[in-house]
């Protein structure tokens, strides 16, 4: 078996002595499409912050590409699309191309400028998310779904091996959500990008992800999607701590 792309061992994290995460053991194998579900306040965002190096665990170790996160430097290998991408300043005068180019800035580094290859990469990333016709449009003129694609392009431009998406479909209509998942499948299967998708929507997640992790301070379930679907609602409610309606989408 190949080494997992991300591995967390006995990771705990607390804000002001209040446990947000407790004894997390989580492996994300290369090529996975892992859905992370759980109630609000269950620590999903904290887990992402740990993976992005924005917070440091008080206990346990996190390894990325088999390297301890403390020594990890290749941050451009990890793409991140945040929930907040929906709430940026809509009047900001930037074209699609300019927004996507910011995804390369960390890779290019201080005191360096974009080369022809960088520009090609920017165009490729925009093409990959199917937004080539909009390359010179202002980002504020696009719809929510289109903007979310642009933010994905921004994280794709540095050729990430792992893409982390935090509630990326909030505020996007159903039709575009389906297109969006189509794009994620292409990235996962054709471009071999490992995905970690955080969502409330358990129903959609079980239709798309090939593994599910259920988080409520500690990890209550971690396995493949079919095993997750076989859980009864009672068992699910137990880790949510309240009653739960699971809406299963049929295709």
């Amino acid at each position: 078996m190949t080494k997992p792309l991300v591995s967390m061992e006995n990771v705990s994290f607390a804000y002001d002595n209040k446990h947000a995460l407790k004894d997390i053991n989580l492996q994300i194998p290369t090529g996975a499409f892992l859905g992370l579900v759980g109630p609000n306040g269950g620590g999903k965002t904290t887990l992402i912050k740990l993976l992005l190096g924005l917070e440091k665990p008080q206990q346990g170790t996190i390894k990325i590409f088999d390297k301890n996160i403390k020594d990890f430097k290749q941050w451009n290998k990890i793409g991140f699309v945040s929930q907040k991408a929906n709430s940026f300043n809509r009047g900001f005068p930037a074209t699609v191309k300019e927004v996507v180019s910011t995804g390369l800035a960390a890779k290019v580094g201080y005191f360096h400028f974009f080369t022809k290859q960088h520009k090609q990469k920017i165009e490729n990333a925009i093409e990959m998310v199917g937004m080539k016709d909009y390359i010179n449009r202002n980002i504020g003129d696009l719809s929510g779904g289109q903007q979310q694609r642009i933010f994905i392009a921004r994280s794709l431009v540095s050729d990430p091996s792992l893409l982390i998406l935090d509630e990326p479909t909030v505020g996007i209509d159903t039709e575009n959500v389906q297109k969006f998942y189509g794009l994620l499948h292409r990235l996962n299967e054709e471009n071999n990008i490992t995905l970690l998708l955080v969502s409330h929507d358990i129903g959609t997640m079980t239709n798309h992800a090939n593994g599910i992790a259920c988080l409520n301070k500690s990890l209550h379930f971690h396995g493949d999607t079919s095993a997750f679907s076989n859980l009864t609602e009672k068992e699910l409610s137990k880790f949510y701590g309240h009653d739960l309606n699971v809406v299963t989408h049929q295709h």
Binding site: W75, S82, P93, R137
Partner: protein
């Protein structure tokens, strides 16, 4: 005007300085506006006034010629900008509080220094509203130096500044040192303000940083184009404003700002007309 321009050195100084600040004020102003910091320019210009009053006091009372109002204004402005950053991190949820604190602090200091010097009359008037005859050759060289510094720093940190302005969270995740870049940016703003004050005056300096951008943002596609149009509008305002100010013997601050307001209104109405026209064409 042309013969006078070649005869009088002060006119040349003023005109060249005008061209320099007409370039850097809207250039940096674009970042100021998109980061929603328009009012910070106002706060810093009032701190600069405090520094200028301090310099004038030193000159008048103690004859210290080496502390010119230009340099003391610049030092106050830069120190003020550091306080702004500090206050913004102290009051994270009320970041705009930094503006009235710094602004009133600047005015308070100015009042104290002015009364200690028993008033300055005309000198102070020209600092408040700008002047066509106040720029010395030395000032011109200092402003040229500031221009070069601003240009080099913006060129080197363009993508970082752009990233931080567009999406701060993403910038931090990407490993941008947000605090250092903020700091650099606010110090640059302070420098540009102190450079512009001789011509447009304390009360109107923030207008030169924001009005051209306000016009540009209506019509530009993308960030680079926004900068380009802002600079063009800024230069137009300065050139037209200086010439009319000189002819009608009005402080150029007033004529420059009114020219930018005219450009702003013209842009808004032209844009409206254009949108209306294209929409009708689309229907037909």
């Amino acid at each position: 005007m042309l013969t006078q321009f070649f005869t009088y050195e002060f006119l040349q100084n003023t005109f060249y300085t005008g061209l320099l600040i007409g370039f850097i004020a809207p250039l940096l102003g674009t970042f100021v506006v998109v980061r929603r910091l328009s009012l910070i320019a106002d706060a810093l210009s009032h701190v600069t006034l405090g520094g200028i009053a301090f310099g004038l006091l030193m000159e008048k009372k103690y004859g210290l010629a080496f502390i010119t109002p230009f340099y003391s204004g610049m030092v106050f402005s830069v120190i003020g900008s550091m306080f702004v950053e500090r206050l913004r991190s102290v009051y994270k949820a009320y970041q705009e509080l930094a503006i009235p604190i710094i602004l009133s602090g600047g005015v308070g200091l100015s009042v104290i220094f002015i009364s200690l010097a028993d008033g300055f009359n005309t000198d102070l008037y020209s600092y408040l509203f700008g002047s066509v005859s106040a720029v010395s050759r030395n000032d011109l060289w200092s402003i040229l130096t500031i221009t070069v510094i601003v240009l080099v720093v913006l060129l080197l940190f363009y993508k970082e500044l752009f990233m931080l302005s567009f999406d701060e969270e993403h910038a931090i995740v990407s490993g941008i040192h947000a605090k250092r870049i903020h700091f650099l940016f606010i110090v640059l703003t302070a420098l540009v303000i102190s450079a512009s004050i001789r011509i447009v005056g304390v009360l109107l300096v923030s207008a030169l940083m924001t009005l051209p951008v306000a016009a540009s943002i209506r019509i530009a596609k993308g960030f680079k184009q926004t900068i380009l149009f802002s600079v063009i509008f800024g230069e137009l305002s300065v050139i037209i404003g200086l010439i009319t100010g000189y002819y009608f013997e009005i402080p150029p601050g007033g004529t420059i700002v009114m020219t930018s307001i005219f450009i702003l209104l013209a842009t808004i109405s032209l844009k409206k007309g254009w949108d209306h026209f294209t929409r009708r064409k689309a229907i037909i």
